[in-house]
Amino acid sequence: MIELLTIFVLAVFVGFEVVSKVSTILHTPLMSGANAIHGVILVGAILITGQADDTLTLVLGLLAVFLATVNVVGGFVVTDRMLEMFKGHKR
């Protein structure tokens, strides 16, 4: 368990560090991108559904897979659309 805690603490610092100097222009895309990344719960949902052996847990698991997929796919696509807008001006 101590390894997991170590990972957690280190990840906190990395998370603080990577976004500490972001300009206001990128606040919305960054929030949206981070939003897509927590869609990684899809991995958890897949693992949990992959071992479900009764109807209730199977249904709950599949619902989680569905919702998490919406989070992941929608999150990355909408972030890309936002950033696409910026591209034209660097010409």
Binding site: A11, G39, V78
Partner: protein, 452 residues
């Protein structure tokens, strides 16, 4: 199993690089793609390790993709913030469901496992219901003003205490029913948390809920003993917290004031009932004003975006510039519905990046600006934020347009702005009001300026 762990490690690195890239304009888009690639790797890897139900899972993933892509592709740029809120909400719900399901399956029980389960279910539920309320607010399905229930604060504390007690009971009793009750309490808590947040502050609430979902995902990583979930969830939790603080700073207000300010706000004083006159002008008046100006500042707001008037605004600016008038755009950090939202919208209309000026570039020289054109903005030019400590938006930095030589205020009606606050600038003798839809007014103005 080693290669599975290695694939997860690679995915985690992709996520870190994604966040890093998203923080710099140059690599933002690439960063997002790297994040997506990492996600694809992680998902495919996890899929190869499962024992059963593979086909059903595939169906659920396809269904989720079929729902997510059109939603993300077709949403108007003006409505993106509520879309992000919704995506965040379903993520929170998924995390809560994962922990709940794992608990029902009853795997290796232990105190830490139970604590993580309880946290995931609670935070995930709060994030889900809170996000749904922010969606309803931004979509203007419900009022954008702070909603204060009678004894709302007491109710909130009550539900929080009940949640804490339920959480402890779950730890002691291992009861499935109590865990479901805890999820329901979490849902109520999320609603109570977001209701008092005013419309203009909702993006901050979204950002915070985003961080919450990250933490729920991290906690679910403990439940499942999965390091990738811990790393990715924690990254989002930590960066989301920092981002929330940065946004609050951009609005010039402490976070606690934004989230709980409505409880302390004094009701607006009734003394403003005195007869105040506004001066409304015609398109021709404004055209003359603009035609003889040397410098013009356009302050766009959400109203411009809603009316899809970005292009009309750019055409007018180009016409004025062709006559040697300098035109700049004053972009408030929170113009639109989210920090940076207006930059996205104007970029969409091909407004040159160099013409977008921030508060600190504009305010020192604003006294020499001849005409300020406020298009569909309101709260970001409200002098009350600077002068009236009783104002709910007091402390938010504004464009000091009341110090410019003349102000033209384009509005659809006398309705107050998104924050629901009256704006004394409307009654300023320097101000000319031009009623109407922003796009309509700008198009007419364009024609009229050509005549001058």
């Amino acid at each position: 199993m080693t290669w599975v762990q290695l694939a997860y490690l690679a995915a985690a690195l992709c996520f870190i690089l994604a966040l890093k890239g998203l923080s710099t304009p140059r690599y933002a888009r690439l960063g997002n793609l790297v994040g997506a690639a990492g996600m694809a790797l992680a998902v495919v890897t996890s899929y190869t390790t499962i024992e059963r139900n593979g086909l059903l899972i595939l169906v659920a993933v396809v269904a989720g993709t079929a729902a997510g892509i059109p939603a993300a592709r077709q949403v108007k740029m003006t409505a993106v913030p509520q879309m992000v809120a919704l995506f965040n909400g379903v993520g929170g719900a998924a995390a809560a469901l994962v922990a709940l399901t794992e608990f029902l399956e009853g795997h290796d029980a232990g105190v830490l496992f139970a604590v993580a389960t309880v946290l995931t279910v609670l935070i995930g539920s709060v994030s889900f219901s809170g996000s749904v309320v922010t969606f309803l607010k931004l979509q203007e399905v419900m009022t954008t003003r702070p909603v204060l229930l009678p004894a709302g604060q007491l109710l909130g504390i009550g539900v929080a205490v009940v949640s804490a007690l339920l959480a402890i009971f779950v730890l002691v009793s291992d009861s499935n029913l109590l865990l479901v009750l805890l999820a329901l309490a979490g849902l109520a808590l999320g609603v109570l948390f977001v209701l008092p947040v005013g419309g203009a502050d909702v993006p901050i609430a979204i950002s915070l809920l985003n961080a919450f979902t990250g933490l729920a995902v991290a906690a679910s990583g403990y439940v499942l003993g999965n390091t990738l979930l811990i790393v990715a969830g924690t990254l989002v939790g930590a960066s989301g917290t920092i981002l929330t603080r940065l946004m609050a700073q951009a609005m010039g207000r402490p976070l606690t004031n934004i989230l709980f300010g409505a409880f302390k706000a004094t009701p607006p004083s009734a003394v403003t009932d005195e007869q105040r006159t506004v001066r409304s002008g015609t398109v021709e008046d404004v055209a003359i004003l603009l035609g003889y100006a040397h410098s013009v500042l356009v302050v766009p707001g959400y109203g411009l975006a809603v009316a899809q008037a970005q292009h009309a605004a750019r055409e007018l600016a180009q016409l004025l510039e062709s006559r040697g008038i300098s035109v700049d755009y004053g972009i408030h950090p929170v113009a639109g519905r989210m920090p940076g939202h207006m930059n996205v919208l104007l970029a969409e209309a091909d407004v040159p990046y160099e013409n977008l000026k921030e508060l600190d570039d504009v305010n020192p020289g604003i006294g020499s600006v001849d005409v300020v054109l406020v298009v569909g903005a309101n709260d970001v030019v409200n002098p009350g934020a600077r002068d009236e400590p009783s104002s709910p938006i007091y402390g938010m930095p504004i464009f000091d347009v009341d110090r410019a030589k003349a102000v033209v205020f384009m509005k659809r009606s006398m309705r107050p702005g998104f924050a629901g606050v009256d704006n004394s600038l409307l009654y300023n003798p320097k101000t000319t009001l031009l009623f109407g839809d922003a796009k309509d007014s700008l198009t007419k103005l364009l024609a009229a300026v050509k005549q001058v």
